[in-house]
């Protein structure tokens, strides 16, 4: 499961393009992660230009 640092995220949507299971969503409240889809691959975490994403233990 991904945790989003809303203070850092600029809602660019870039991370979504790397998520093979379409777990991420860009809403008007920022990036949301679907806990049921996320497989903790960290592709999005490594991509984010401003380090806004982290894996969170469930």
């Amino acid at each position: 499961m991904i945790e989003v640092n809303k203070n850092k995220c600029l809602r660019c949507g870039g991370c979504i393009s790397l998520c093979a299971v379409s777990a991420l969503m860009l809403t008007e409240h920022g990036i949301k992660c679907d806990i049921n889809k996320c497989v903790n691959c960290e592709a999005c975490v490594r991509f984010c230009p401003v380090d806004a994403l982290k894996i969170k233990d469930e």
Binding site: S17, L18, P49, V50
Partner: protein
């Protein structure tokens, strides 16, 4: 609201790809709806705002408009890691730094004038399917959900695209095929206002480059794109270091902060399925060496709109018929972009020493030819003079 619940074509996304598609489809007689999820088309930007004249011409823009031109550009200065630079000042490298917020809106206005209905703050939620066939799209307009039927859906939903995946087309990118980008729009900086500046080097921007795109007066977009596995740190860290080590930038102010993903590869062979086309960033239609996608997206969208119109007139919106879009796009742009991707793969393998060495051996006009993907053979020949580059050089031929 002026929206109906049935159209010939629904275009998802109001960027250049969407406007290109909606304009072409409407001009060719289709009833078109273009929806954009943001409240304002073009904002916030995800762009360095560089547009060459030749790229604009491909979009059908013959004259610049003072409404969106911030600065006329005469050429570029390309820096090697050791600070050595090559100047590129040729008619072919002319262009502008533009105001995307105005430019994108103007493209959308043209789509509306061509007859398309354009509605912002309206998001595509999911595709509507009947017996596995795409028959429309469920949208959310402000807080109201509704179903809109369409014979063809054109997904122009940008880098965050998920609609194509829902249609069964895999658009997921790997790290090597997408640059992780960050940019400050800066004020009160001293930069050459006539030229773009590009800085290469593994310590400066692993797997990418730093750009300074002058925006008129004392303003500039200062940004960076980097890629894993070449980049060891986050884009923003490289960018902050770069700015802090350049006195002319360090004293500047930050007017806007942007991030983004730039597809720079994974060019797609197939971008259609029954009743469905994907275009623009969503289909990775971007120049793989510099990441320019404004014109590529618009052109991809335009071809999509034209083929959609032809398909509907012939009452054949099957995958087989729509694959004409693949053929035309590959012929017009794909072949070229694929060649440029090959060049990108060679450039990213160069060590800083090699880049410095090349800076001594390449002239400005060589760089122009390279950026147009016209002649790689001469580059290969130059590289072959350096034993450590022999193997890489062969990849270019």
């Amino acid at each position: 609201m002026l929206m109906k619940n049935e159209y010939d074509a629904v275009v998802i996304g109001g960027g250049p790809a969407g406007s290109g598609a909606a304009t072409a489809a409407a001009k060719n007689g289709l009833r078109v709806l273009m929806i954009e999820k943001r409240a304002e088309i073009g904002s916030p930007k995800r762009c360095g705002e560089g547009l060459s004249k030749s790229a604009a011409e491909r979009m059908g823009i013959k004259e610049s408009d003072p409404a969106w031109v911030c600065q006329n550009i005469k050429g570029a200065t390309v820096y090697a890691p050791n600070g050595k630079f090559a100047r590129v000042d040729f008619p072919d490298s002319e262009g502008w730094v533009i105001e995307r917020k105005i430019f994108d809106k103007n493209l959308a206005r043209k789509a509306a004038e061509a007859g398309a209905t354009v509605v912002s703050k309206t998001e595509a939620i999911s595709l509507l399917k009947e017996n596995d066939k795409i028959i429309g799209v469920r949208i959310k307009h402000q807080d109201e959900e509704m179903d809109v039927k369409a014979k063809i859906i054109i997904a122009a939903d940008g880098v965050e695209s998920k609609i194509a995946r829902e249609a069964g087309i895999n658009t997921t990118l790997k790290h090597e095929d997408i640059a992780s980008a960050a940019q400050y729009e800066m004020a009160n900086v001293d930069v050459d206002q006539d030229r773009l500046e590009l800085y290469f080097g593994n310590e400066i921007a692993g797997g990418g480059y730093v750009w300074i795109f002058p925006k008129g007066g004392k303003n500039a977009n200062v940004g960076i794109g980097v890629r894993k596995p070449f980049a060891k740190r986050k884009a923003i860290e490289y960018l902050n270091d770069f700015i802090n080590s350049h006195e002319n930038l360090k004293k500047g102010s930050i007017i806007e902060f942007n991030t983004g993903g730039v597809p720079v590869g994974a060019i797609m062979k197939n971008m259609v399925t029954d009743n469905f086309i994907v275009a623009g960033d969503a289909a990775h239609q971007v120049n793989p060496i510099h990441g320019g996608g404004i014109s590529e997206s618009y052109v991809g969208g335009r071809i999509a709109g034209e083929i959609a119109a032809e398909a509907i007139k012939k009452d054949n919106t099957s995958k087989e018929f729509l694959s004409k879009y693949n053929d035309i796009w590959w012929n017009e742009r794909g072949e070229k972009l694929q060649k440029i991707e090959k060049l990108r793969k060679v450039v990213e393998s160069l060590k800083d020493d090699d880049l410095n060495w090349l800076a001594d051996h390449l002239k400005g006009e060589d760089l122009v030819e390279l950026s147009k993907a016209n002649k790689f053979k001469f580059l290969a020949e130059i590289m072959m003079k350096r034993p450590s580059l022999l193997l890489l050089a062969r990849k270019l031929i």
